[in-house]
Amino acid sequence: MFNIHNDNLKPILLVGKTAWNMEVYNGINHLRDVRVISVEEFVQLEDKKNYQYFTGGTDTSFRKMVVEKIEELVENANFVSFVSASAQLHPEFKIGKNSLVCSFVASAGPTIIGDHCIISHFCHFGHVKSILGDYCFIGPYTSIVDCNLAKGTWCGHNCRFLRANTKEWSQYYMNSKTLNKTFEVSGTYKNNKLLDPGTCLTHSLKD
């Protein structure tokens, strides 16, 4: 079950037939008027202003495209955020719009999450404050302590980040470990090593 934030009580459209949207749908369809529709169906929709919106997906470029499409076609579109009732969050934890915090996420410090972010199941924000910019994706079982993750940072399964500062749209393979590191260049990383200049906008690791 999710707590809904930034909610204007209008029906909710989950745009994009992604696994994440299906999971959110399964978690709230017994509580709220909600539908999952494809991007193509959204574009054809006539009464777009009668809804509020959410989109989740592992592929950052797809998620960004959906958000931009909604903002283009709906003036002052409202985006809701979802926080699982089983997440354990510091009282000063903050979340932007169109973001998702999944089950069993734990935040011991006053973490700040930007807009359009996904924090997957069993993630952990330890000890002190971390800041995540817009469009960050954090894979399951990842631990983040005292970090500043730039816009669009993408972290795979079971990563460990301690005092790391990332560059926009950089992405990290699963099981990456990064300690006391300020990255100067965006791209695809395994631990601290740049493997590919492609970013999560050009080269999705989700597959």
Partner: protein, 215 residues
């Protein structure tokens, strides 16, 4: 109590009889230490069970859990050989998050902090360990599937006796009976046709989880 949290299980397929946990396995000990506060239950070895009277055997329902699938099957077969109508209770931790349309068969265990995010179907004698997730949408886990801690299963059809090691990440996968995967395996969009022991999608040993226990 050290804090306000409390471990407990919701029981399914419960006929109200006392519960006999057969096999001195670590998982059975864990279940017993919680369930004893909720129901009349006993924990005993398979050797002790073999010495029990028919009257005792007929007046209990049963549960057994083990990461060793061959041993668990041996226990189940022993119980069924002595009581053809034996009932196996299922236990879903109240500290797990389980989608309201998910289903469980008999003899199944869902541990604390497991997460089932969609209307998945868990059949008989399935074990979902701590911090595992059956995520996003529907997966089907057939009889005797075992999912180790910290593993992710998304939109999969896991055949009878599939054994998933720790920190595995599975999405859109179909397995074959008693196939097993070592820890840290990552498998995406695969339909397997041959059983055995795998690292990722690579066969590393012809023996399956009934022939070779890798935990």
């Amino acid at each position: 109590m050290l804090n306000k949290s409390k471990l407990s299980y919701t029981t399914h397929h419960d006929n109200g009889y006392p519960v006999c946990l057969v096999g001195n396995t670590e998982l059975n000990k864990e279940v017993y230490n919680v369930l004893k506060n909720q129901k009349d239950c006993k924990l005993m070895s398979i050797e002790e069970f073999n010495l029990m009277s028919q009257d005792f055997i007929d007046s209990h329902q049963y549960f057994t859990a083990s990461g060793n699938t061959a041993f668990k099957l041996e226990i189940i077969n022993t119980i069924k050989s002595k009581n053809k109508q034996a009932n196996f209770i299922s236990l879903v931790s109240d500290n797990a998050v389980v989608h309201q349309e998910a289903t469980v068969g008999k003899g199944t265990l869902i541990c604390p902090t497991a997460y089932i995010g969609g209307p998945s179907e868990l059949k008989d004698f399935v074990i979902i360990q701590h911090f595992s997730q059956i995520g996003h949408s529907k997966s089907t886990l057939n009889d005797h599937v075992y999912v180790s801690p910290m593993s992710t299963v998304v939109n999969c059809n896991l055949a009878e006796g599939s054994w998933i090691g720790m920190y595995n990440n599975f999405a859109y996968v179909e397995t074959v009976p008693f196939q097993q995967f070592v820890m840290y395996s990552r498998v995406l969009k695969q339909k397997f046709i041959k059983s055995g022991t795998y690292k990722h999608d690579k066969l590393i040993d012809k023996r399956n989880c009934l022939q070779h226990y890798i935990a």
